[in-house]
Structure formats: structure tokens, C-alpha cells
């Protein structure tokens, strides 16, 4: 019969023994974990690609914090392209008695050039493509803003000095979430010509101007080249591929880290595969010897078995992909609030990658033990001790581990990061190994201090050292990650929040005009609140350091480039603020008015390579301003007080247009005070720190939940490793059980012994996990977040309970057949 058919038949017959089931489940798990992450990130990527045109609202865009320069305008005139303009900035929206922070966007008639703006005139009714843009005097709002203001279509709102009628609800806007993944402030869209009426745009306001262009590919390409030659400082030209840097970065990171989490479970699944295959091989030694006697060659035998496993891999792989596809919806659900995009169906690529992972896992972990079948001597039929599978060696796992490490490097997309990740994984494994060995040694000491039940349970753990170490490592890792991502995360967040003094500022007011200062201070005093300190703010762009002109290409570091491209907030002050510490140079003495010197924040200086004594040149409102750095400051950004990257003494920046900002603490009882303020001064923008922190907290919670979701695979893989180990020792356990029953042990004794064994294993895993989580929490708190970390007893309690109960339940399930096996059956085999 052909080899193919033979292998299928053997597969069918062998299925009923346990080890192939564990093998199949392990492969399925490996593929499912990788594909669930793969499908998820693939869908996001496709969403970005499909909507890429929409992301910009055009084919190319010129971005600037000022109106588009004449140089660029001149260039555009000679090209036959469509164009549109948008102007975006945050401001308060006032309706009757409520106000809310919103993101205003004034659009010109032809907006959008690509993608579709969709609106509806009633909540929850079907939307339709918008015909044009809001007519002057009207605005279109996002639905949640209507909820927040308690208004409806047809009601009036105030923006700055002007009133508007709400005429529609926006249901889809191209280029939404431009630059930020998290839609903090809801959208208000108005006609670009209405902006002047509002009076909200002042010289020092922070506004984003965009000029969009669309046309045929050739024209756009030429236009792009032409514009890039004429770009003025502060202007940026972007195409579709540059859009959504924030989203792309987040996607890239999530792909790397979720993918890494999935690979950890693949590693464990590989161990289960190796263990199962060893038993599979051991059980087939006799039949192999017989086949050799009958004339089969070594290669034929090996090939048949390899084919058998290959079929299994295919079936398990396909099932795993299906499972991964279903499970990916879970990730989507968890991160839905964070990722505000409609996701299309995924491509086939994750399937290919998933199957590839399955094949690599099988080849790496199952092939080495399988190779042994090649060497079974035919003489084994007479002398049964020949050809036994050699004792477990490190080599068995080495090949597979190597293969997986290569996968990890590929997953990281980047050699440096890949090496770090790999190093991290190996270090973690090493540490867990040491901890596992340590607790097992301690347990060994206590072996003789109890009755039969204790001795059996503990004896089973300590005798099967390698298996026990592996299981403690696997479960310990899984439980530790869960503890880190829930309890430790909460502890750290809580620590951070409670570190803030109770009266730390919880509101920021920005965009206060200079002529409003006195009135604003008076306003607060009238309300019975302390007058807030108002800080002047001038916007300027760093154009040169020590005469060397800076451009976008001056820095490789992502963060540095961004800092150079945008405008900074500069301010002036006589005194050094309480929470600032001079780290280099000297703060200026009181009589320094008018001196062209600067104090720069330490972190900024490091990122941009600014040193004491450097002359910095800023472009402020078309003027150049140069001053020397005489001190560097450390700022405690966590205090929520107003702080600036760059400070000058008074009398230096006074001539430039400025706005004023402040931060203050508003007691809950005075909640409505700011509504009144905004009504009186509609240009003042109020940022609710508590709301922002709440949103940040939600994002952190959601993202860690997503990672936990993937780490559930790791726990399941740990269970499979345990099942594989149980199967490998099944015959031993059955024999022991038979002997004990012969000697008169009843079933409850056997059950207690089994419970002791698995509960003991689980307890050890829980201890290791709690210990590792505590140490990690301490390290994270002190070295990364600079917080205190208090001992959290819950870690130990939950770690131990989870480990003991979880592992015990899983272990009992796995050995149920030994306990349930009719004693007659086992006992008969003894005689």
C-alpha cells in the first residue's frame, strides 16, 4: 500500500492514544496564538492602507503652524490640481449652560479631496455623503459632543465670539484622528470663512494649517517635487505613506509585543510537542523493529512516520488558523475603544505565517526525537532492551528552541530589538529555572515529614525532576505575567495617583489673552477661589544652535525630529519655580531683565544636543531671536504645574505676541465655575486633567488586557506541557496505582496522593510567580517609574491560590483515567 495511505491509516489508529492528541493540541495552540495576533494586526494594517487616501483627505498635504507661505502658493499656481484648506485647533464649545473642549476644524469648499465626509441630520438614522461643507453660520458636530452638551440638531452653540446653528451630525470624517490615536476632543466642523468671526485665532494661538492637493499621479508627483524645494521652515510636506505616524507607531509596537507574547506560548507548545513525540516514538519502537525485520529500510520507516506527523500538522494548523481567526475578534473587542477605525477582513498572510509557525514548531521539536526511529535495530524483536530511546537530553529541545529564537528575531522586525527581546526571554527563562530548582530542593527536604499521602505526592514531584522544573517554569511564567498585568499594574497606577498631593492642579486654562489677565484673576477671586498664577507663553521654532541651521534631517532620533519640526512654548520668569532644580549653570539674578539668556529643560537639551553656553536661535512670528543658554533645569513634570522647556528673563520676549496659561485646582464643589468663565471669555480653553488621566488609565487598562488575552495562550500551553508529561508517565502511574491497590490502598487514598502531587506543583508555581512578580514590580517602580513600591500581599495570595487550584484541577483532569481505570484491568496485567 502506498506510503501516503499507510501514514493516514496509522494516524487514524494512533489517534486514540493520548500523545497524538496532546501533540495536535499543542500545534493547534501554537498556530492559534500566532494567528490571532496576526489576523488582528493584519486587519489594522489593511484598514490603514485602504483608508490611506482618506487619512490625509487628499494625495499630498502641506502642514504648517502658520498660514501656507507665499513661496509654496507660487509653486502651486502652475499646476493643474485641486486644492482645499483646513484649519484645526482646540477650543471650548458653549451651549446654553454647558461647555466642553472640542477640536475645531474650519474647512474650505472643496474639502475633502479624497475620502467621504458623511453626515446625518438625526441621531441614529442612516447617514449619507455630505454635499459640500457646512454653510457659513452652521456647524457639524460629532454625536458624542451633542450628548456631552445636551443639545440636538437645530440648537445653537457659541464658538468664541460667534454663534452657530448645529445643522448636522458627522458620522465619518476623513483624516480623523490625524496625528493621535486617541480621539480626546470631539470634532466641530465649520466653514473656513467663519473662523474670523469667532476671533479665536490670535497670533500666538496654536493652530494647525493644512493645504491639501489631489490630482493625477504624474501631476502630483511633479507638484510634490516642486513644493519640497520651496518649503519654508516650519512647513512639512506629507504623502499618504507618512500619514498617521501615531497609529503606525502604535501598530508597529503592538505587532512586535503581542507577537512576542504569542511566541512564548509557541515555545511552551514546542516543549509539549517534544515530550509527546518522545512517548510516541517509545511506543512504536517494537513495531519499527518488526518492520525492519520484514525488510523496510530506515528511510522508509522514518518517512512514514514523518508523513503521519505532517498530516497531523496540517489538520492542527488549519484548525489553529480557524481558531485564531475567531479569537482575534476578542482582541478587537478589547481594543475597540482605543482604536477608532472600522476594520476590514484580513488577508491570507497571517494564515501562511501561522502554518509556517506550525511547521517550524513541528520540525524543531518533533523531528529530533523522531529521528531515533531510524536507528531501531531489527534485533530488538529478540532482545528488547536494544534500541530504547536515549535518556532525555538537552539536544532534544535545543534544535526547536533555536528555530523559535530565529522566529523571535524575525518577529521583532529589527535586529537590535530582536536581540534584546531574545536576551530578555532567555534571561527570564534562566531566572525561572533557578527559582524552580530552588523550590524543588526545598520541597525535597520536607519529603519525609508526613504520612503516605504526602510522601507520594511530594515523591512524585521530586522524582520527576525535569518534568517538574519545566512545569513550575511554565506555570510560574504564565501566572507571573497575569499578576504583573493586573495587580502590579494597578499598584503602580495607584501609587502614581496617590503621589500627587490632594490639591494638585486638575485643570489647565490656555489661550488667555494678555488683555484678559486682570479680569480672569478677578473672576476667580469673586468666586471665592485663589487667583491662579498666569504664565506668559510665546510660540517659537528652534532654527539654529550656535549658528548651525537645523532642518528636519538634522536628527536621527524620532523624538528630536519632531521637536525641531514644531514650535516650542517659551516663557519668561524672574524666579525659579519651586519644583525646578538647576542641574548645570546658574539661574539668573533678579536684575537680569532684558538679558538675552535662556534656561533650558534638561531632557530637551539632551535630546537635541544643546549644551551650556550654546547660542539658540528661534523664529518667533517671522523674527529671529537668539540667546545664550546659561542654565539647565530639571523639571518635575508629574506635578501638573505649568512648566516650560525654555525660559528667558523678563524684558526679552515681551514684544512678541503671547497668550497666558495657568493650572489650578478646582474643588469638585465648584464644578460649574468654569462654565461661567468660558461664557465670559469664550476664547479660553479648559482642559480637564482628570478626564485626560481617566482616558489614559482606560487605554492602559485596555492594552494590558489585550496582552493578558494573548498570555492566556501561554497558560494553556503550560497545561499542555503538563498533560504531555502526564502522558509520558501514564504507564508508570497506572502500574503504581495497581500495586498500591494490590497492597490494599483504596481509591480515596490514591486520589489524595494525586491531589497532593498537583496541588504541590501548583503551589510551587504560584510561589515562584508571586516572587517574580514582586521583584519585577519593585524594579519597575524604582528604576523605571521612580515610585515607591509597597509590598502587596495580594500577589502572593492570588498567585498561590491560582497556582494551587488551577494546576490541581488541570492535573486531576489529566490523570482522571488512571484513577477511574477499573482496578481489575490494571491488576490483571500484574499477574
Amino acid at each position: 500500500m502506498s506510503t501516503v495511505l499507510l501514514s493516514l491509516r496509522m494516524l487514524y489508529r494512533d489517534w486514540h492514544s493520548g500523545e497524538l492528541r496532546v501533540l495536535a493540541l499543542a500545534l493547534m495552540l501554537a498556530v492559534a496564538s500566532v494567528t490571532s495576533v496576526g489576523f488582528f494586526t493584519d486587519r489594522i494594517q489593511r484598514a490603514l492602507e485602504q483608508q490611506s487616501n482618506e487619512l490625509l483627505g487628499g494625495d499630498i498635504v502641506v502642514k504648517s503652524s502658520n498660514r501656507v507661505s507665499d513661496a509654496v502658493k507660487a509653486v502651486v499656481r502652475s499646476f493643474d490640481v485641486r486644492s482645499a484648506r483646513t484649519v484645526e485647533f482646540p477650543s471650548m464649545v458653549i451651549a446654553a449652560d454647558k461647555s466642553h473642549l472640542a477640536s475645531l476644524k474650519g474647512v474650505s469648499e472643496s474639502y475633502p479631496l479624497r475620502g467621504e465626509l458623511r453626515i446625518t441630520t438625526r441621531m441614529f438614522s442612516t447617514d449619507a455623503p455630505a454635499q459640500g461643507v457646512p454653510t457659513p453660520g452652521t456647524v457639524w458636530l460629532e454625536s458624542r459632543l451633542l450628548n456631552q452638551l445636551g443639545i440636538n440638531v437645530g440648537d445653537r452653540i457659541t464658538l468664541g465670539d460667534a454663534e452657530f446653528v448645529v445643522s448636522a451630525i458627522i458620522t465619518n470624517e476623513p483624516a480623523r484622528a490625524s496625528g493621535s490615536l486617541f480621539s480626546l476632543a470631539p470634532r466641530v466642523m465649520l466653514n473656513i470663512h467663519d473662523l474670523e468671526r469667532t476671533g479665536l485665532i490670535q497670533p500666538a494661538s496654536r493652530v494647525r494649517y493644512r493645504q491639501l492637493f489631489a490630482g493625477d499621479i504624474d501631476t502630483i508627483t511633479r507638484l510634490r517635487k516642486a513644493i519640497s524645494k520651496q518649503l519654508q521652515p516650519g512647513e512639512r510636506l506629507e504623502g499618504v505613506e507618512d500619514a498617521q505616524p501615531g497609529v503606525r507607531r502604535a501598530l508597529d509596537r503592538s505587532q512586535r509585543f503581542l507577537g512576542l507574547a504569542a511566541l512564548v506560548s509557541v515555545l511552551l507548545a514546542g516543549v509539549a510537542v517534544a515530550t509527546s513525540t518522545r512517548r510516541f516514538v517509545a511506543r512504536h519502537l517494537d513495531s519499527c523493529a518488526m518492520m525492519r525485520c520484514m525488510g523496510a529500510t530506515q528511510s522508509e520507516i522514518l518517512f512514514t512516520f514523518m508523513l503521519q506527523l505532517a498530516w497531523l500538522c496540517l489538520i492542527a494548523g488549519v484548525t489553529g488558523c480557524l481558531l485564531g481567526y475567531l479569537l482575534q475578534y476578542g482582541l478587537v473587542a478589547i481594543l475597540a475603544t482605543v482604536i477608532d477605525i472600522v476594520l476590514p477582513q484580513p488577508s491570507y498572510i497571517p494564515i501562511i505565517i501561522g502554518l509556517l509557525v506550525g511547521v517550524v514548531t513541528l520540525s524543531g521539536f518533533a523531528l529530533p526525537p523522531l529521528m531515533h526511529l531510524k536507528h531501531v535495530p531489527p534485533l530488538r524483536v529478540i532482545r528488547r532492551e536494544l534500541g530504547d530511546v536515549p535518556a532525555r537530553s538537552v539536544v532534544t529541545y535545543l534544535v526547536g528552541s533555536m528555530a523559535l529564537f530565529v522566529l523571535i528575531l524575525i518577529q521583532a522586525h529589527d535586529i537590535k530589538l530582536g536581540v534584546y527581546m531574545l536576551g530578555g526571554v532567555i534571561a527570564a527563562m534562566g531566572l525561572f529555572y533557578i527559582m524552580a530548582v530552588a523550590v524543588l530542593r526545598i520541597l525535597q527536604r520536607f519529603k519525609h515529614h508526613g504520612g503516605i499521602v504526602w510522601r507520594f505526592g511530594v515523591g512524585n514531584i521530586t522524582r520527576r525532576t525535569r518534568g517538574s522544573i519545566l512545569q513550575v517554569m511554565a506555570f510560574g511564567l504564565g501566572i507571573m505575567v497575569l499578576l504583573l498585568l493586573t495587580l502590579v499594574r494597578d499598584d503602580l497606577l495607584h501609587e502614581w495617583e496617590t503621589n500627587l498631593p490632594e490639591d494638585a492642579p486638575n485643570r489647565f486654562l490656555i489661550n488667555i489673552q494678555p488683555d484678559q489677565r486682570v479680569e480672569v484673576e478677578d473672576f476667580f477671586v469673586q468666586q471665592g477661589l485663589p487667583a491662579p498664577s498666569l504664565f506668559p507663553m510665546v510660540r517659537g521654532r528652534l532654527t539654529a544652535i550656535d549658528g548651525r541651521a537645523l532642518s528636519l534631517d538634522s536628527y536621527e532620533d524620532d523624538r528630536a525630529s519632531r521637536l525641531v519640526a514644531r514650535e516650542f512654548n517659551l516663557s519668561w520668569s524672574t524666579e525659579l519655580q519651586e519644583d525646578n532644580i538647576i542641574s548645570a549653570g546658574q539661574w539668573w539674578p533678579d536684575q537680569s531683565n532684558g538679558k538675552k539668556i535662556l534656561s533650558v529643560e534638561k531632557g530637551l537639551a539632551e535630546t537635541l544636543g544643546i549644551e551650556l553656553g550654546d547660542n539658540l536661535t528661534f523664529s518667533i512670528a517671522d523674527d529671529d531671536f537668539t540667546a545664550r543658554v546659561t542654565s539647565l533645569r530639571e523639571v518635575d513634570w508629574d506635578s501638573f504645574r505649568v512648566n516650560f522647556f525654555v525660559l528667558a528673563p523678563p524684558g526679552v520676549l515681551d514684544s512678541y505676541p503671547a497668550t497666558y496659561i495657568t493650572s489650578l485646582y478646582l474643588p469638585a464643589s465648584n464644578g460649574n465655575v468654569l462654565n461661567e468663565l468660558v461664557k465670559s471669555f469664550p476664547n479660553i480653553t479648559v482642559i480637564d486633567v482628570a478626564a485626560v488621566m481617566g482616558q489614559v488609565r482606560t487605554i492602559i487598562e485596555r492594552v494590558t488586557l489585550a496582552v493578558e488575552y494573548v498570555f492566556v495562550f501561554t497558560l494553556l500551553a503550560g497545561v499542555l506541557v503538563m498533560y504531555a508529561a502526564i502522558h509520558a508517565t501514564l504507564d508508570e502511574r497506572i502500574q503504581e496505582s495497581a500495586i498500591l491497590r494490590t497492597l490494599g490502598a483504596d481509591r480515596s487514598l490514591l486520589l489524595k496522593g494525586t491531589i497532593t502531587e498537583f496541588a504541590g506543583l501548583g503551589l510551587l508555581s504560584g510561589l515562584v510567580a508571586a516572587f517574580a512578580a514582586t521583584v519585577s514590580g519593585y524594579i519597575l517602580a524604582h528604576f523605571v517609574f521612580h515610585l515607591d513600591y509597597a509590598f502587596d500581599g495580594r500577589l502572593w495570595l492570588i498567585g498561590i491560590i491560582l497556582g494551587t487550584v488551577g494546576v490541581c484541577a488541570a492535573g486531576l483532569l489529566g490523570t482522571m483515567q488512571v484513577l477511574r481505570r477499573p482496578p481489575l484491568q490494571s491488576l490483571r496485567e500484574m499477574l
Partner: protein, 229 residues
């Protein structure tokens, strides 16, 4: 002690054992009736396949018959459930097997302690086990695991284990089957000596005529039936 003063320890009545096989029902034992008195040493002898190990298993309650009954010291073995039979074995029966059947993860001492602990006498287990291992000549091998002992030594441990809980009955299934001639002889001597010291009832399954000659009686099994004595 005269024969008539001995009480019946095992009473087997109309014992049948059939098993299902692809070719229909296979008769392993048919119409077995026998009585074994206290302190007797009885050999069950027969060719391979005659059903003697099955008979032993049934008498020890390790298996259930198709029909018939077995009384151990007046208790109907098959009126009890599995746990009940376990209790009987715990308190009354010791075993010696052809393949020793020691627990590989326990030391010699721990193996012998087992039945004593199981019968609820934890406090005496260690001393009793030491005593018996000394009796079988393995006082210096207490902490060794079975894989570190020779076949003969393992069987000696098994004998010590069999006697440690002071059973009334001892079942031995081909105790020298896996041993060479000389070692086997020594084992048998040891078995009979201790048996005589303790006045246990011994039921010995063997195919060796010489061995059966050392017992008080021999019961011959042929194709599942007891031949007339």
C-alpha cells in the same frame, strides 16, 4: 497441630471465569471448588495457559468471577465492593509476584513500610520494616532504590514487604520465574522459613514440580479445571 483443628481460610465455591474474545467466549476457569486451611502451604500447579494465575487473582479479589464465590476467613469477597476488597487485602493478604512489582521511586525501606502504613500503623512502620529487611538479609541496603538492587535482592525486599503487615494469607505467583536457579532456590528457602515462623497460610502458583513438592498439597489445574487430588 492436627489437620482437623485448622480452620478454613479460603473457601472457593463453583468458581467460573469466562472472558469475551473475538471468537466468542473463552473459558478460563470452570467449576473450581477448593478449601484451604489455616497454616497450610498449597501449590497450584499447571502448564502455562492453564488458568492458575487467574485463579490466584480471583482468590485475592483482584478480579471478579463470572460466577461463583470466594470466602476469605468467612467473608464473601465478591459481596464487597472494590474498596471493601482493598480493605481485605490490606489487613489479610500479602503478595509476592514474579516481576517483583516494587515501587521504583521508593527505597527498599519505604517499599516495605508501605503495607504497614496502609494498615494504619504509621508509628510502627519504620521499625517493622527494618526488622523484616534485616530478616531477609538486606539490613545494609535500606536506602537503595529497586534499580540499584539485583533481581534476587528485589525479590527479598518483596518478601519482606509481603510479610511486614503480618497477613494471615500469602499469595505468591511464580516467585522464582525471573530468577536464576541458585537465587531462586535461596528465595524459596527464605519464603518457606518465614512462612513457617509466622504460621501464614501460603498459596503458591508455580509450574515447577520440585517446588510444589515442598508444599503440604498440590492442586493441579488443567485447561481451567481442577484435577482430582
Amino acid at each position: 497441630m492436627s489437620v482437623s483443628s485448622r480452620q478454613p481460610v479460603i473457601e472457593v465455591t463453583d468458581l467460573d471465569k469466562n472472558v469475551a474474545s473475538p471468537d466468542g467466549e473463552l473459558v478460563i476457569l470452570h467449576d473450581i471448588n477448593l478449601t484451604i486451611l489455616s497454616a497450610e502451604a498449597v501449590a497450584i500447579i499447571g502448564a502455562s495457559g492453564s488458568g492458575k494465575s487467574t485463579l490466584l487473582g480471583l482468590m485475592a479479589g483482584l478480579d471478579v468471577p463470572t460466577s461463583g464465590s470466594v470466602m476469605i476467613q468467612g467473608r464473601d469477597l465478591f459481596a464487597l465492593n472494590e474498596d471493601g476488597r482493598a480493605e481485605v487485602r490490606r489487613n489479610m493478604i500479602g503478595f509476592v509476584f514474579q516481576s517483583f512489582q516494587l515501587l521504583p521511586n521508593l527505597t527498599a525501606l519505604e517499599n516495605v513500610m508501605l503495607p504497614v502504613e496502609l494498615s494504619g500503623q504509621q508509628h510502627r512502620a519504620r521499625d517493622t520494616a527494618r526488622e523484616f529487611l534485616d530478616r531477609v538479609g538486606l539490613a545494609s541496603r535500606l536506602q537503595h532504590h529497586p534499580r540499584q538492587l539485583s533481581g534476587g535482592e528485589q525479590q527479598r525486599v518483596a518478601i519482606a514487604r509481603a510479610f511486614a503487615a503480618q497477613p494471615a494469607l500469602l499469595f505468591a505467583d511464580e516467585p522464582t520465574g525471573n530468577l536464576d536457579q541458585r537465587t531462586g532456590d535461596r528465595i524459596i528457602d527464605l519464603l518457606f522459613d518465614i512462612n513457617h515462623e509466622r504460621a501464614t497460610t501460603l498459596v503458591l502458583v508455580t509450574h515447577d514440580e520440585a517446588l510444589s513438592a515442598r508444599c503440604n498439597r498440590s492442586l493441579h489445574l488443567d485447561a481451567g479445571r481442577l484435577l482430582k487430588e
